[in-house]
Point group: C2
Chain length 667, copies 2
Amino acid sequence: MKKILGALVIVMTAGQFGMSSVLDSEEAFSQLMPIPQEVKVGDGRYRIEKNFTVAVSGNPDERIYGAASRFLRRLDNRTGLFLPQDYVEPDEELESVGLEIVVARAGEVTLGEDESYVLEIGTTSVLLKSETDLGAMHGLETLLQLLSTDEDGYYFPVSKIADSPRFPWRGLMIDAARHFMPMDVIKRNLDGMAAVKMNVMHWHLTEDQGFRVECKSYPLLHELGSDGMYYTHEQIKEIVQYAADRGIRVYPEFDVPGHATAWLVGHPELGSKPGPYEIERGWGIFQPTLDPTNEKVYTVLDAVFSEMAPLFPDPYFHIGGDEVEGHHWEEAEHIQAFMKENDLKDKYALQAYFNQRILKILTKLDKKMIGWDEILHPAMPKNIMIHSWRGRDSMVSAAKDGYASILSNGYYIDLMQPASDHYLVDPLPSDIELNYEERERVYGGEATMWSEHVTTETVDGRIWPRTAAIAERLWSAEEVRDVDDMYRRLDVIAVQLEELGLTHIKNRGMMMRRLTRGADIRPLHVLADVVEPLKIYQRNADLIYRSHSPYTLLPDVAGADAKDARRFNKMVDAYLKTGHKADEGAIRSMLEMWAANHAKMEVLAADSPALRETLPLSEALRDLALSGLNALDGKSQNSNSVIERAKAPVARVELQVVDAVEKLINK
Amino acid sequence: MKKILGALVIVMTAGQFGMSSVLDSEEAFSQLMPIPQEVKVGDGRYRIEKNFTVAVSGNPDERIYGAASRFLRRLDNRTGLFLPQDYVEPDEELESVGLEIVVARAGEVTLGEDESYVLEIGTTSVLLKSETDLGAMHGLETLLQLLSTDEDGYYFPVSKIADSPRFPWRGLMIDAARHFMPMDVIKRNLDGMAAVKMNVMHWHLTEDQGFRVECKSYPLLHELGSDGMYYTHEQIKEIVQYAADRGIRVYPEFDVPGHATAWLVGHPELGSKPGPYEIERGWGIFQPTLDPTNEKVYTVLDAVFSEMAPLFPDPYFHIGGDEVEGHHWEEAEHIQAFMKENDLKDKYALQAYFNQRILKILTKLDKKMIGWDEILHPAMPKNIMIHSWRGRDSMVSAAKDGYASILSNGYYIDLMQPASDHYLVDPLPSDIELNYEERERVYGGEATMWSEHVTTETVDGRIWPRTAAIAERLWSAEEVRDVDDMYRRLDVIAVQLEELGLTHIKNRGMMMRRLTRGADIRPLHVLADVVEPLKIYQRNADLIYRSHSPYTLLPDVAGADAKDARRFNKMVDAYLKTGHKADEGAIRSMLEMWAANHAKMEVLAADSPALRETLPLSEALRDLALSGLNALDGKSQNSNSVIERAKAPVARVELQVVDAVEKLINK
């Protein structure tokens, strides 16, 4: 028995699954993300030859043929083997089969469907078995991740993998309302989700800043509420189909009664105040709110939801319901009178009344209501699902109260926290105070890509690769929680995700070239790799961002996991523990690089005014690095002011190496 | 008077347009591409402040508001100024106006429309005047290219630019049939075209490998002829609108009667032979051909063209007509009988008969026929347009015969020739043997992006930046033909084009990361920057490519203008002329880099079998570099075999520095 994957036990068996090549194979298995439930490492290699083919048998949904064909192309694109098979098709006559996929039945793209698979890699064939094509598609992603190389070429390591998800709801919410996200952004992110075995896209479609769906029943909604940026019915269908082809459910969010300014631009009569209303261009919590006392509101919502419901076959329908402050309700006499008349004692009761009316509409449409924490109210029945964003407590109390729920608190990737933070958030840690029945009500979670500070240029980089860590949390065993190992594998996955068209790596260079006006980007790269954007909305502190602000500057180039900083901080910790000279050398060379970088940044900034605001930061890094070098040299110094300056945010970013240098100084 | 832009004369005037800052301003003007017809350089700078706004007056088409808004966002994204104006809208009340756009009338997106503009940049305001909004949009691109920086920030240099195109037809053909090109590819390339003032997209929609439009009258055409990859009517309309918003005409090509395999998959009865037919997966000239003797062919074409005509408002309609070898016609008895009966003496006469029938359909639909050289036949009337691809001669003889024409011979960007080759091809050089009237019949030209060896990953890199050089040829004065200056400006434009989402730079890194499996790409970069893919279809010589081949290897990463090779070759020429020590140093350091690179490539290839085929090349480069270093050191050597080996193609690419090193050795 041998532990090689995080906390997972790798079972070694006799016979074909012998010991000899395990060490070589480890590399292959240590690339997997999310980590499968069970891996038996065998002996030998399945060689991928130029005649490698794929066949499907059983009773699958036809989507498996598309998935298998895409698998072939990705394999061929990575290996350059010029594989002969154009498409994987039913009833093909193949001379020999490399990978055989056997699927028992067509999967339904719906909550709770069987997603398990078993992958058996032998030296002469690969067998992928699953109950449904959804499981088979997960298996194909695992197989691609296992692609390995040696002196003879490409191979899959002999092994047997039995895998299935820990949670049935593994989602990504994309806010396409605050910043509109065009079709290609949605599609490539669906491909990214499939690659890490996520299975739900929650599509946030309406906001103060935009109503993003064509509405045939009330066309003023999208005509006046979207600046022309919305999805047509045809496009919605295209995305739903694209997702279903990848085993991904898609369900919409129409956020009501708050976050509703965009609805009111075309239909001010639905508002709690007379209007007129304009599309909101700023960020924050705004007061425009649907009027729960106005029967026309329900007429419109009935029509709109009835129109939208068939576009989304999934039974879940998100009504938002968050952040209703109720100021407009307080200020409207007729609403106050209505509340008194109907014995609704506060805004919460009024919202619950509103939600009950909405629930009737959704029930009629065969939809299940899901909404943010705030829809939880004693007046609501138990058949709604709570989407917990404000904290784990609300999820726990929902489960205790008998509500189904999913967790997003802890998975807010827009807050620009490192992957490790999200990775360690478990929806159902073993020590959670829920009994078996209550635990069963927690279906999983969703990463939430709110798009205030995200554009089509940066959105992939905000989602990936961090979301792969969340995907692993929701798929793999609870014990899989080695942060260092997760980061190591994240680097591997990040590059693989690029083949799907995702721009999380390549757009950084593009943005830097724009900033340097085509000059050498390396000095800016050095700086960007040790800073992170201000977290948790602090970037608004010294500068008010709006829809059309330039999200093209250093905080937008910088990521949530400053790569060099992470490396440096680990090296310093290791060095302080062991005092090894080799570690000192590596630390010294990074410090020297930073010390020399400021002069280069000055040259860049001379031609690029947009970079000038970063110079104090670059200078602070230089001085910090010089202090660190002094410390390594054993020179005495007073570096308090240097440290303090290096800790101060500049240009909406923060240096991430200050603590480590401070440790060096204080050692 | 002062020449600063290629061969153009920059006029200096008195008063505001004084002399003092001309030298500073030169840099700004030397960024322009295409070079305007007339530039008067003035004295002073228009400062772009945080409150910069844009206003429009006159009687423009509403598209100018979208264009002006996009201009603002691009300006803001480059400068990071957080400009306050969300959208440029009619009748806005602005406190002060930075740029005023005055448009006399709405432009029609049609051949020959007025595209001129005048840009007057003063120290306190910028005025852009044009007859139509099409001209104004060109002016906005010029203004963005003029964005300059100094110690005080961003500015536009005081100047007066009067500009208009040399040719009215400045096109890019995109072959979306051989490799399908999704919506986002088409859109971002339309943006690229607009940035360099091109005004026609020719959309090649049918081929042996695919029928790429939804066809409601004969749905089997797209259902069986496209592998599911086609544009819906809605998508065609979306693209046509998107293009029109950028002043770009879009016209389709339905290539008949050859290149028609995909038509015959769903409708074999239209073929000259009985069928069945399958979608073609290979590249080349294929025999399946529509049967000109079959009345159903004309019934179907009438229905299909009648369905397609309204989707494309442009009057031109391309019927292809190229490469009809006629073997299937020869082999079909009924066709031979028909020819005899109708006195059609050869395949050319039969094709002319076919074209005459098609012409009737198109005339009925108010469309003008355009087709490749081969449609030129004595039997055809003079109101068709000839698209010249086989040579300038056919264009000249068409013009003499009274036919309108455009030129693509010399603009075949799929042949992977350097930008300089295309740049120097002039549709109407002064010495052309055409009289005034005949010259007037030459409307311009089109770059042709045939997509055999191009995928969605590589297409932008094949089109850009080279197509910008062709755009300049078609816009600027004939005398603008300084190749070095073109290359210098191409580097500037290449980076600017990235902001439109084009992937020509950033996908190279992505593709290299896939090839190195996430390892350091620098050694591969060094190699890729001195090689070019085999030109003119030679890459098929040792390896047969097909639709699904992996276009992910070194010949796909390498571009048509190997950057380091170009630089090195210029340095060697300069050094051999002057013998300067500084040049020698630069040459030496490049040679040393190449000499050291092979060992690094070996390390990369150890983990990446796909790279192993490039090792002989990398080794040849090392040996070549060592010979070059020996030559610089004055050592005697016999380097014939080294040179010979370095000249041999490897892995479908060729080294581009062999001649230069040979010159060093033989000096």
